[in-house]
């Protein structure tokens, strides 16, 4: 024991070095494990509060761009509203003429299964291998872990950590993140992953060669075992690469969301959906 102590004291610099490096490495491993983030609540709260101040200052310089983005989103939402209104009129007319079609009301209400909550990106990265987005909404606003995060253009990520006033989301442009996808109405359910190189592209792998894919087709969320409701835009097919050895397509997807300039985002809660699904299951029995 004495020898051990004298050995330690002789090499104390080396041991301190090794100890600190070991602690740092264990932090890296713990905090960067896939799909979760173990940073303490209070640390997230403090760091996000500082980032928030900075964001508030820098936001003044981007007001114009932000307004244009909002205008575009507004236009596309208005279009959707018009088409939904048209459908609603048709449905109401049908219900009046045939009272047995009450079930249609149910399908019209299906969008209420998901609850949308607007939020803002305070800080984000897009060039690392795991990119986090700090959001200005937290537990007190009803944010929960695993909630989906979307931009006006398409899906963006999902929440991995919450603190009282802020939360941290992992971007889909992160290593090891897979999203259940589908291509328009084709009967395939591939998994979407990031390509690991730039924040604009991802890939769909293992698509049989006989599936007829064309550039420009929409890649949507499948909603199967997912944090996202079905039919949200992930991106658009850009190019096909035929893998001759395996006999599968590898598809390059251009992401809909611009990960270089995230600002206004929406959190999606599937809680109502799981509740509704459960009720339906119970009713069937």
């Amino acid at each position: 024991m004495l020898r051990l102590l004298s050995f330690l004291s002789k090499n104390q610099n080396l041991f301190l070095f090794l100890l600190l490096e070991a602690v740092a490495l264990s932090l890296v491993v713990r905090f960067n494990a896939p799909q979760r983030h173990a940073m303490g609540d209070s640390l997230l709260e403090v760091s996000a509060a500082v980032q928030m101040r900075k964001r508030n200052i820098s936001e003044y310089f981007y007001l114009k761009e932000g307004n244009i983005q909002l205008q575009e989103e507004n236009d596309s939402l208005r279009q959707i509203l018009d088409s939904l209104r048209g459908k609603l009129h048709v449905a109401e007319a049908l219900i009046e003429s045939d009272s047995s079609r009450v079930g249609m009301i149910d399908s019209l209400r299906s969008h209420e299964e998901f609850v949308y909550m607007p939020c803002r990106a305070i800080r984000f990265t897009h060039s690392l291998s795991r990119n986090y987005i700090t959001l200005d909404k937290g537990r007190l606003h009803g944010v929960k872990e695993k909630m989906g995060l979307i931009s006006p253009q398409g899906i963006a990520g999902f929440v991995v950590k919450t603190s009282p006033n802020f939360s941290l989301a992992l971007s889909i442009t992160s290593y090891g993140v897979g999203i259940g996808a589908k291509v328009e109405d084709l009967p395939i359910k591939p998994t979407f992953t990031w390509n690991g190189e730039d924040p604009e592209h991802g890939t769909l792998k293992w698509i049989p060669l006989d599936v007829d894919l064309k550039p420009g087709m929409k890649v949507l969320t499948s909603g199967i075992r997912s944090r996202f409701p079905p039919d949200l835009v992930i991106g658009y097919i850009e190019g096909l690469k035929e893998d001759s050895q395996d006999g599968f397509h590898e598809v390059s997807v251009r992401l809909a969301t611009d990960f270089r300039s995230l600002n206004k985002l929406y959190l999606i809660s599937l809680e109502h959906k799981t509740e509704i699904d459960k009720l339906r299951e119970d009713l069937k029995q």
Binding site: L25, V50, Q51, T125, D198
Partner: protein, 172 residues
């Protein structure tokens, strides 16, 4: 002035600049500057090794908390500060040793350049390789490019800050 107090003050300035300014100065996919490294590289050389290690660890962790990179800077900073004395003794052929104590601010600019860049590179190499750990072999050369360009970026910032503040303050 008390050394510990002075270092804390300087550190707060560096940390504020890193979090508020340098953090948002990344050049898209290419380079990401970590200007706060100059603080560690300008630590007095005669400071005892355990203190240097602990300061490097604390400084790294501080930045880690604000950039969601838990442990990455802490690891890389301790590594860099541990290599520093050996690197100084390698390149100190052209060193001005004033009295018995080596003071970094009194060196000429070419010595400072050859002192700063390799140590910054060590930090960046460790940081980006560790950051990409799961994915490192898939994009090895892309990572290497990012390490090199980021090192250059950080070096330019550190060199400018050194030239403006450290040299002038030592001339007084």
């Amino acid at each position: 002035m008390n050394l510990a107090l002075r270092l804390t003050g300087i550190w707060l300035v560096f940390a504020a600049f890193q979090i508020m300014l340098f953090d948002s100065m990344a050049i898209s996919q290419l380079a990401r500057p970590f200007g706060f490294l100059l603080f560690l590289l300008m630590l007095p050389v005669n400071l005892s090794k355990p203190i240097q290690y602990l300061v490097a660890f604390g400084a790294g962790l501080f930045i880690d908390i604000f950039t969601q990179t838990m442990g990455l800077h802490a690891f890389s900073c301790v590594l860099m500060i541990a290599i520093r004395p050996y690197w100084i003794s390698i390149i100190s052929g052209t060193l001005n040793r004033s009295k018995e104590e080596l003071t970094l601010p009194h060196q000429n600019l070419s010595w400072i350049a050859s002192y700063l860049f390799p140590l910054i590179f060590v930090h960046h190499f460790s940081f980006f390789m560790l950051e990409a750990a799961g994915d490192v072999f898939g994009h090895f050369f892309q990572n290497l490019l990012e390490i090199f360009s980021s090192s250059l970026y950080t070096f330019v910032i550190c060199f400018l800050v050194y030239g403006i503040f450290y040299q002038r303050s030592s001339a007084r």
